[in-house]
């Protein structure tokens, strides 16, 4: 069993589906739950969920490659994508997590496989601790994982062990930092102030023509 | 008159009065015809109506541009290459007969001269490609060389058949021979296209398309692959020379094709000896040249290009055997008739 983060349903025996999206496509949702359950059994997963029609199966980091291979052989041969999420309490720019105190800081690496005969598809998810973001590569399993892993490596600083050519994909070679980490500040948002913070109302006591005008107008109004 | 002075005058007349207007006319034709074939208007403003002055304006623009020589280039060879290409093209014009007496020089070995001189441009292209110091240019130059060599052969063999049928190597003589064709004892005064050289004509046109590096055989310059091949680094006046050479070459090759297969300055029904042919002849020849050029332009704007190996296959496996067969056929034909 892996660690069980807050947003993940706890699996008692093989897995239970959390209540899904309120009304939209509940038929799909149950289909997603069915797929998630089936794949979880195939790959020997710790738990699974099917919220919002998105089937997710959680596996251990040690069993990552064999789980992906098992899912592929179990009828999901199409490699859709691989990426990661940085779950972090400290967020430099953008939205913070809803309950930072309950959050276990980690990287989630996920890989989406799908069938090409029906709509079934699944996200295989595994967690990496922040201090040791390494995981085995999927390149021997899926040739297409090469670019996706290179992207995840440069964006999150995750090391894919055994990757044949783990160099930067998008970023220049000299680039430092991992842009999609939550600790990476966005320069564009640093150099320019948000226009929304400027208010029309001048602060009391502040100098400047606009404030004076307002006061002058108030005086005139009072006299009349 | 001094011999050398005469040569200079003749070259200037040929280059200034025949080649340049011919090339400009074909360039304009290409611009306008391609545009309308693609539902476009094409040149519109230059010169007032129809954009007739567009080729001139383009030429003037190119002349004003900087003449760049890349640092990695072999400057002397790089500078010389366009002249070689242009001169080899101008030399072809010398032997084209425009009328019974309108030939700069009616050589007895005209056909031989033609084939010798036209392959000179290969040298210029190879020089350009190699000296540019650019990998794309080098590949373009190599492709051009391979292609020109491959197509020189079917072209020579196709022309040999004409020479066999006409019994002369002089271009003027070939026109006269067409005007006096006899088949099976009957006087059938028709061009060789109809009287026996249809296959030869097809081979010759295909080979000249390849020599001119026009679609479907434009691999040496293939823009989407080699970014204009051996022309990549050229700019300004030197690029203009290549450009002009290309179209002058097109006029030259169509004129040769017209002379060899379509009766040149002569038309069925006209007397090849009459004096008025010196006036009518050039008009007839130019019309034939324009019709053939239109055909070339039409091909270019309809077809995609072939691949280098497919081109070689076409040349060595199809055109050369066919042209050999054509010679044998012509020889038999000649004996029988």
């Amino acid at each position: 069993m892996t660690d069980s983060p807050s947003d993940r349903p706890e699996a008692a025996d093989g897995g239970t589906a959390r209540e899904t999206a309120p009304d939209a496509g509940s038929a799909n949702a149950s289909a997603a739950a069915e797929i998630a359950g089936r794949v979880a059994e195939q790959v020997g997963a710790t738990s699974w969920s099917a919220d919002y029609d998105t089937a997710k199966v959680y596996v251990d980091r040690d069993r990552w490659v064999e789980a992906v291979a098992a899912a592929r052989d179990g009828g999901l041969p199409f490699f859709s994508w691989l990426s990661a999420i940085d779950w972090s309490r400290q967020v430099e720019v953008g939205e913070s997590v809803a309950a930072p105190d309950d959050l276990e800081e980690r990287y989630e690496v996920m890989c989406r496989l799908s069938s090409v005969t029906d709509a079934s598809a699944v996200h295989l998810v595994t967690s990496l601790p922040k201090d040791d973001p390494t995981i085995a590569t999927l390149v021997p399993t899926f040739g297409g994982a090469e670019w996706h892993e290179r992207e995840a490596a440069e964006m999150f600083g995750i090391t894919f062990e055994g990757h044949p050519h783990l160099v930067k994909l998008y970023l220049p070679d000299a680039f430092e930092g991992n842009p999609l980490r939550k600790s990476f500040a966005l320069l564009a948002r640093e150099v320019k102030p948000w226009p929304g913070t400027v208010d029309v109302e001048g602060m009391p006591g502040a100098t400047g023509p606009s404030t004076e005008n307002v006061e002058a107008a108030a005086m005139e109004g009072g006299e009349e | 008159m001094n011999f050398w002075l005469l040569v200079v005058v003749k070259v200037l007349v040929v280059a200034g009065a025949v080649m340049l207007p011919g090339a400009l006319l074909v360039i304009f034709g290409e611009l306008k015809i391609s545009a309308h074939m693609q539902s476009r208007i094409g040149p519109y403003f230059a010169g007032g109506r129809f954009g007739w002055a567009q080729p001139l304006a383009d030429g003037l623009k190119f002349m004003q541009k900087e003449d760049l020589v890349p640092a990695a280039a072999d400057a002397r060879v790089y500078r010389l290459a366009p002249y070689i290409v242009l001169i080899s093209t101008v030399a072809i014009y010398v032997i084209i007969p425009f009328g019974p007496d309108l030939t700069a020089r009616d050589l007895d070995l005209g056909v031989f001269f033609l084939l010798a001189v036209s392959s000179l441009s290969t040298l210029g292209v190879l020089m350009a490609g190699w000296s540019s110091g650019n990998k794309y240019s080098l590949m373009g130059g190599l492709r051009a060389a391979a292609q020109l060599i491959a197509y020189e052969l079917p072209m020579v063999l196709a022309v040999v058949a004409v020479a066999v049928q006409a019994g002369t190597l002089s271009l003027g003589g070939i026109v006269q021979a067409q005007a006096h064709t006899e088949l099976f004892g009957a006087n059938i005064h028709l061009p060789y296209l109809i009287t026996g050289q249809l296959l030869g004509f097809l081979i010759f046109t295909t080979a000249s398309l390849a020599e001119l590096a026009r679609i479907p055989f434009d691999m040496p310059i293939a823009e989407s692959e080699l970014t204009m091949g051996y022309l990549t680094e050229y700019s300004g006046l030197r690029f203009t020379m290549f450009f002009l050479g290309e179209y002058a070459g097109m006029v030259a090759f169509t004129a040769i094709a017209a002379t060899l297969y379509l009766g040149g300055w002569w038309l069925p029904g006209l007397s090849p000896e009459a004096g008025y042919m010196n006036v009518v002849g050039p008009i007839v020849l130019v019309t034939k040249v324009l019709l053939l050029s239109f055909l070339f332009i039409w091909f270019r704007w309809t077809w995609p290009r072939l691949r280098e190996d497919q081109l070689q296959t076409l040349a060595w496996k199809w055109l050369i055997p066919l042209s050999l067969a054509n010679i044998v056929g012509t020889a038999l034909f000649k004996v029988i008739m």
Binding site: D23, A24, F79, A98, R112 | Q38, S224, E225, W301, T302
Partner: protein, 398 residues
């Protein structure tokens, strides 16, 4: 005096002279980032031996704009405006899966009329994207005229898209809960409803007829041309298992004989009400990839005609709170973009902006097969194969 050699020895000697390997050193050829056939700023570092390509290493990222990071600092409405620039030739199709993902997270469903408008505009976008391919691909093979014919008719489709959305390439017309309901009007100085403008249905039918006609023209001019066939048939074959392993999707996958189309499987737009076929190739070569797209245009005109006939009346927008707050959750929605599977994995932590958006773009995966497929090909075939994959650099780099 000449020495006479035994004939067999002489033969062996001449054989040996011929079979000496011609040592040609490998040349590194940089194709791109500025090259006519790379559709933008893609660079291929090719090791070539004469005309033969030994290996290719694509270098991407010249167009990387970091959409996934940008999405983390933008509200959902702002992201919609941004993401139609990912694959800029099929802008509308990029918006659809994203807004549907947000709708699912919020538990909203768009009204039927809005869904039909989405479907019509998505198919029109598919037509325009494929027509662009129809134009650029023959150009790469040296035929410049199909370009003009395809673009000529594409113009009519673009005009229709612009008439509805106000944008030709970047419609920004999808809203969470439907399509753009109203915007600043004219001199009336009132917000006006952004429903389909009058004349849209007739104009659409006319445009579809013209598109069908140009498909016939392209069939004659391109697929029927022996030279085109010589360049494409049997060139650049992608076997189905390789295609799946590399995540190649869309027409490229279908050309390899895998008849998988998300329009039939993902019920995010009302495709179930509409009859259409999925063109599938057999060989997975460049020719099949071209023909599959050509046939898809014909199917798309068929879809648009049916959708125009049965579009219901009704509102354009479901009830949506004025300030868009998306409840906590993670949702992945994918749709059949003209280039392949386009998907968004939206992770919300309950605010006005998402916690993370993973963008799965089709061209990225489609292009990742390049090193495998280009090894051992000729340079002209390299151009032919690359063009046949129909990628957009913005969609590769995001």
């Amino acid at each position: 005096m000449t020495t006479r050699l035994d004939p067999t020895v002489a033969m062996h000697l001449s054989d040996a002279a011929v079979s000496v390997e011609l040592e040609t050193p490998e040349m590194t050829l940089n194709i791109g980032p500025q090259h006519p056939s790379t559709h933008g700023v893609l660079r291929l570092v090719a090791k070539v031996d004469g005309e033969r390509v030994d290996s290719v290493e694509p270098v991407i990222g010249y167009m990387h704009r970091g959409y996934e990071k940008l999405a983390e600092v933008r509200t959902y409405a702002q992201i919609t405006a941004l993401i139609n620039r990912i694959d800029w030739v099929s802008g509308f199709c990029n918006e659809v899966p994203f807004v549907i993902a947000v709708e699912r997270l919020m538990g909203i469903e768009a009204p039927e009329r809005a869904q039909y408008i989405r479907l019509i505009l998505a198919e029109m976008t598919r037509i325009s994207s494929h027509l662009l391919f129809m134009s650029s691909y023959p150009l790469e093979l040296g035929a410049p005229t199909p370009l003009m014919y395809a673009l000529r008719e594409r113009e009519h489709v673009m005009d229709l898209i612009e008439g509805v959305t106000g944008g030709r390439f970047h419609p920004n017309f999808n809203r969470v809960g439907g399509v753009k309901p109203a915007a600043g009007g004219g001199s009336s100085t009132k917000k006006v409803v952004q429903d389909l403008p009058s004349g849209f249905f007739d104009g659409t039918r006319r445009a579809m007829d013209r598109v069908d006609l140009v498909c016939d023209e392209l069939d004659t001019l391109v697929t029927g041309n022996e030279l085109f066939r010589a360049r494409t048939v049997g060139v650049g074959i992608i076997p189905p298992d390789k295609a799946l392993a590399y995540g190649v999707s869309g027409p490229n996958l279908r050309a390899s004989g895998v008849g998988f189309d998300l329009r039939k499987h993902e019920h995010i737009l009302p495709y179930d009400d509409i009859e259409f076929e999925i063109p599938v190739g057999r060989n997975g070569d460049c020719f099949d990839r071209f023909v599959v797209r050509l046939q898809e245009i014909r199917q798309a005109t068929r879809i648009v005609r049916q959708a125009v006939d049965r579009i219901p009346a009704g509102p354009l927008q479901a009830k949506v709170p004025r300030i868009l707050k998306v409840p906590q959750g993670q949702c992945y929605v994918r749709a059949e973009n003209p280039k392949g599977e386009m998907g968004y994995f939206v992770v919300s932590e309950g605010g006005r902006i998402p916690y993370r958006v993973k963008i799965r773009s089709a061209s990225f995966s489609n292009l990742s097969i390049l090193p495998w497929i280009l090894a051992g090909q000729l340079i002209p075939d390299l151009v032919a194969i690359m063009g046949s994959l129909d990628f957009v650099l913005g969609d590769v780099d995001r």
